[in-house]
Amino acid sequence: MILIARRFLLLIVAFSIMLPFIAAALIPLIYRRFKNIHLGWFVLVVPTVLFSFLASYIPRIADGKTFVKTYEWIPTFGINITTYLDGLSMIFSLLITGVGSLVILYSIFYLSTKESLHHFYCYLLLFMGAMLGVVLSDNLMVLYVFWELTSVSSFLLIAFWHHRKASRAGARKAMIITVSGGVAMLAGFLMLYVASGTFSIREIIANLEVVQASTLFVPAMLLVLLGAFTKSAQFPFHIWLPDAMEAPTPVSAYLHSATMVKAGIYLVARTTPIFGAHEVWFWTVSGVGILTLFWGSFNAVRQYDLKALLAYSTISQLGLIMSLFGLGSIALHLGYSTDSVIYTQATFAALFHLINHSTFKGALFMMVGIVDHEVGTRDIRRLGGLMALMPFTFTIAVIGSFSMAGLPPFNGFLSKEMFFAATVNIMQLNIFSLDSFGIIFPIVAWIASVFTFIYCAIIVMRTFFGKLQPDRLEKPPHEAPIGMLISPYILISLVVGIFIFPNVLGHYILQPAMASIYPMFPSSEELTPHIAAWHGYINTELWMTFGVIVFGTLLYLSLKKWRPMYQLFPQKYTFNAMYERIIGFGEGYSGRVTNRYMNGNVSYYFIYIYVFFIVVLAGYAVYADVLSWDPSKDSAIESYELVLAFVMVFAAGAILVAKQRITVVLLNGVLGYSVAFFFVVFRAPDLALTQLVVESVTTALFLLAFKFLPKIQPEKVSNTVKITKAMISIAVGATVTLIGLAVMNYDKFEPISAYFEDAYNLAGGKNIVNTILGDFRAFDTMLEVVVLFIAGLGVYTLIKLKAKKGDADVESK
């Protein structure tokens, strides 16, 4: 019975990745059928079902169980689809499906049915599936595939309103930065493979000594971190996140508070057992994290757009979580002892804040969405005095912001205190030159928290207090419909609920994840501190919080006096300006180069192709010295073969001097049919058949288009060009001939024919050509079919689809 249940669960874990993809494929069918019902109601089923499935297994995960299921994909290279559900992936998959459900529920009321909802939900489901794939994959290569899929699907989501120039630019920026980071990460993964011999994360952790002894260890670590930092918008890669706010607000709430940006956090958490003991890891992760924390909060204060403000706040909060993972990794360096357990609290705080951040940031994004939706603007210079008009929205804003600012009685307070405690603890160590530099951590953390307090105050005060300016708003302000309030209210009740019962979360959700991050440490019970709201009388972190409140209030009140300071920094030297310069230069330069060789003359393109062909193939043949011709083993040449060859040579020669296009077409047909004859003669009936039909079809195509083709114009070219072309042609012919002859004696590789010898037993077919196409090398065939289809669609769209009226100026909007 248990066995069956276990097997069932394994299937579900594997299935949970697939379900969003299947649902995405079904959307076009549903969309057509039920036009009156908002598509979101159907989509909502997917994450809620997954969430309840996953949630029902929380107790078993809390007991320390893990669930692994492997599907073989490319076993020869160790690339298998292995789903691995443990405490860490549990947290993330619960966030993805849980926040996902709420976001979809919210979006039903946010997006009207006039939008192209089928695109929206299709992208959203793809994204959800990809995220689940990232956090549930044990195989590094599979993780990478899903990782890049999240980049692609988020690109589609950010550019959902693609008629707006800013949306497209934001989507492209996000994609360029995260995909380049992803490629670096791929290189890191390959290095890990070289060092360890496996793509499985669990196996790498099991054989840590081998990996850590490798010279590739530090480069691999830095490359993997590059992937994590770009994805999680860490300094200086954070510039894409504010621009990604061009997406519809439900998307921002989902991608940029709960999921996409947390993929980097997940990667850091997941690879902490591999790299965590190293000094470079500690300083890079915690250093970049704390810098991002400061830079994000510092820049959030200068924003006037509420969403941009939240974007910078997300950057800063991600930096906080990142730095906590860095601080927590020091416990791995120290090894297990009762003294080192205290440093694992940083990791615990990181996981705790991760969940808290998802709850309050999700609620805040939805709050901003409501304001934008009901008032028509997000600019805080135009907002104000909404408290009396939108009391429910105001409640969301207060609870969310207070939690973000780290004030009681909300969950953000608890994790913020633990963060301060972690920075204070780390200062007292005397390794990794922490005795001299460790003081940076509490100081920067404190300053950043002051700024966090200020921008949280801005969100609440500037939007809801002060004077109402009805003439500066797009719509008369009123409270949001109840449907839009459900999701943020669930989130803020979690914000309060977690504050009251933090240890339930700690025991069931966080403790198993701690075991995943510290697999070598014996008891996860010991790694789970008891969270208390009132954690002692006069300790350092509580004083720090008091300081934050006092200084934060003072600075908020004097905001007008010091805000001009932001203008001092010249725009030219920002990272954004650098990005623009690099992209602009790349576009201009590659444009110029491309225009030089793509001159629209087909014969030039053939010259490039053939010269490349000669250089590579003939060059390699000469370099590797494989051109040998030994006719002794060849069979005799029959007279009819000679006749066929003569016909072909004649036809080919005649094409060169033909004056009429129809002659050329027919002579070309003669060539094709002669090749088919050769196939017949050499007993390759499959090829002969294909050749015959293809030849007939292409000739028919030619004749169809014949009427529209202009007469052949005698080319007026100089003799040098003619001679060059002739030389290239002869060289190509010679290369093909020589290689054709040399192939007979080429024995550098083992022949693969042995592989097909018992084709009938292996594939059940007597026709070897077809067993190769359908069985042995079916992957090629499958992809060829896809290529063919795409080529056909390409021809169709190029010829058929013309820009609709008004589409022409879309580009310039």
Binding site: D686, T690, G764, N767, V769, N770, G774, V785, G792, Y796
Partner: protein, 140 residues
């Protein structure tokens, strides 16, 4: 300009069925004799093209109301679907299987999942071929 092509029309009317029969034969013969999805699809597709060449597009469309883009898409789905399908039976991607079955009337027959895969290939070839030729010839 009206062309008097009564001979062409009469011949094609009969030839097309022969072409289709050959195409179907080639498709099914593929496993043990020359043929297969690609070539079968090509022959079927060229038969359809022949119809389009002889009759005008509306007439053919009345007899064969298919959107050939969708036929091609169906083919791709079928080919990739059989590939993915093997995962549900705990077998590696693209695993094919075969066996001998006793079918009423036909007797014992050799059936293989490759046929489904090949059908995908054939449909893609037919769909793409006709799509390309139609869009080229319809362009004014």
């Amino acid at each position: 300009m009206k062309v008097n092509d009564v001979i062409l029309k009469t011949v094609v009317r009969m030839v097309v069925f022969i072409v289709f029969t050959v195409g179907m034969y080639l498709f099914f013969a593929g496993h043990n004799a020359p043929g297969g999805g690609f070539i079968g699809g090509l022959v079927l597709g060229s038969g359809i093209v022949l119809l389009y060449l002889t009759y005008d597009i509306e007439t053919v469309h009345k007899g064969m109301p298919f959107d050939f883009k969708k036929v091609a898409a169906l083919g791709v789905l079928l080919a990739t679907g059989t590939a993915i399908g093997s995962l549900f039976f705990d077998a590696p991607f693209l695993t094919q299987t075969d066996g001998y079955f006793n079918i009423p009337i036909l007797g014992e027959k050799h059936l293989s999942t490759v046929t489904l895969f090949e059908a995908g290939v054939a449909l893609t070839v037919v769909g793409t071929l006709v799509t390309i030729i139609l869009s080229i010839s319809e362009d004014e």
